[in-house]
Symmetry: C2
Subunit: 334 residues, 2 copies
DNA sequence: GTAGTTCAGGCAAACGTTTGCGCGAATCGT
DNA sequence: ACGATTCGCGCAAACGTTTGCCTGAACTAC
């Protein structure tokens, strides 16, 4: 590893003190025009790049220009879009992003939270694994700015940006009912996740609004992974009196559900109608095109990053909570 | 920002010197059993976490336990899978991953390369933007371990892990021909990317092997994004004498192609057959199921990370070059 | 019993920054 | 023309580690 040029190298070359170099770079303190020129010249010549590690070590607070993003799984397109959103605004503000997958595993989440702290990131964006997650609570108590996305934290008044899951689910199920369905199967999210609960609530409220009662034998709860979507759909379809429509609470599980449906050779929407949460890449060219409730994932990430940056530069500001609206995209599958 | 406990805090509490604490943590040097116990006790009590920033600053070389991953776009499922692969092996080895999207933008790539160096990562994984990318070359010259994925660098004997694009494309087009097609449209990748060129070569060689000549009016080259797939497919379909089959060189463009096909209301595979590179999430439940050539993206990431870790701990080892085989998954779209 | 060796652990330098303090020179106000 | 302010810049401490060197003490060998 060839040694990188450091402040002292450029200082020597420009015949000034290192503090002068530091100050010209950061535009802090008054520096004469000629001195500045010499310093810049030396920097060019040596191809000097400030060492971010040393800088972070010295400045415990403020602008180390590193953000942490901890998400369940980057292979879930929702989180990929979200990640892209935060990455884009980070880049525009000269921040880099430390990205980790915690895979719904509390140990992994804790590990990465530790890493972030140890790296002294400026702030962290994450969907908390639980409503009150002791690990992240400890981090915020420690003074690290945190903004929650997608799911929220019950305690603490943190910045957060979420999706209005209730209204999204409500609209979806309302639409299903309007198509004449009365037996609507639910493939829900984990009961201990706020998204899962809110979407379930939307499902129930849409029933209530239409004067329908929810049939508890049509309710299944998965883990947002494809396999569970497939398995639970199969359970529902195997019922003596199966549902005529399905509301599936995320994209991966919707893909799983479609597998089950295909395996049984059922026609959509005649034999089984379906609407899923999340957008799927091929949804609009699927046969039939899938009606889904699209979440503005990119915008969630974007807003979260903007909120985080604001908080970093003004730690005392009151916490703001954004709720973005999903949109029901009606196509042909229901 | 409450101050984190540091080495001196635990040293004070355990009534030893900070160097003793450091040595017990890193298991370097001989330490008495009782002293060790005291130190560990103090660490627990203070919830001490070593500061990775300070550690990285001190140890220019070796185990700072941070990997850099620079990819074109995390929204491309191929790279998401790849990223997941490197992340998993990184986690197993207690490494964190710094992830960036450079979006095929040389400026962005250079920016992130600088960031990685400034963060003194232990090593970098990336698909070079060009065959000989000066920015990347400079980094390897600087002594930072680099492994190339997906695309390769012409100069330099670096570790790399690629897909056998030629054989994948060859198999795909061979299969198309075997189905009786003679006019096979190509939606290719960028001409200046090694993947694009290799897949094109497979297309041509499959034609040659079957005694067919390639018709240059059936050739189109996109940028691996969905929009170009749609646009170029539309061009092909609008031809007076359009192709009867399509070979599309990546997943996103395949999705775009399907949009064009759907817009024209063409039946697959009767009116137009199609096989695409990359796997798509709904490919197997699509109607009809899509025959595609699946790239082992996760394994590429996994192998790359393993190679990188090996090189980090043994910088002098000869460069190894892996070539992973894609598999043609024959379904119903051709 | 003495010299040599190992054991346990302390001291302090170094990594590359940022920044409070200080100081001579220049500029200013009157 | 002289004290006061500002300007431009250097000095050195600090951030939290790792690690080479050193030093007593204990142990080994003869």
């Amino acid at each position: 590893m060839k040694k990188e040029p450091s402040l002292v190298d450029v200082a020597r070359r420009a015949k000034v003190n290192i503090s002068t170099v530091s100050r010209t770079i950061n535009k802090t303190g008054k520096i004469g025009a000629d001195t500045q020129a010499r310093v810049f010249k030396a920097m060019k010549e040596l191809r000097y790049k400030p060492n971010r590690v040393a800088r972070r070590l010295r400045m415990r607070d403020g602008s180390t220009h590193l953000l942490g993003l901890i998400i369940p799984n980057i292979q879930n397109i929702f989180f990929a879009d979200l990640a892209r959103g935060v990455e884009d605004v980070a880049y525009r503000n000269n921040f880099a992003v430390l990205l980790c997958n915690y895979d719904e595993d509390p140990d992994k989440e804790r590990f990465y939270l530790d890493v972030m702290q140890a790296e002294s990131v400026d702030g962290i964006i994450l969907p908390p694994i639980h409503e009150n997650d002791p690990a992240v609570l400890q981090v915020v108590e420690n003074g690290t700015p945190v903004v929650c996305v997608d799911r929220s934290l019950s305690s603490g008044n943190l910045d957060k940006v979420e999706i209005d899951n209730h209204s999204g689910a409500f609209a979806a199920v309302e639409h299903i009912i309007k198509q004449g369905h009365r037996r609507i199967g639910l493939i829900g999210g984990p009961a201990d996740s706020s998204t899962g609960r809110e979407r379930f609530r939307g499902y129930k409220d849409a029933h209530a609004a239409a004067g329908l009662t929810v049939k508890s034998d049509l309710l299944r709860f998965g883990d947002y992974k494809q396999e569970s979507g497939q398995r639970l759909t199969e359970e529902l379809l195997a019922l003596a009196n199966p549902p005529t429509a399905l509301f599936v609470c995320n994209g991966l599980m919707t893909a799983g559900a479609l597998e089950s449906i295909a395996a049984r050779g059922l026609r959509i929407p005649k034999q089984i109608a379906i609407v899923g949460f999340d957008e799927l890449p091929l949804a609009d060219v699927f046969n039939p095109p899938l009606t889904m409730v699209r979440q503005p994932a990119y915008e969630v990430g974007k807003s979260a990053a903007e909120l985080l940056l604001k908080r970093i530069e003004e730690p005392g500001r009151p916490a703001t909570s954004l709720k973005l609206l999903p949109t029901l995209i009606i196509r042909k599958s229901c």
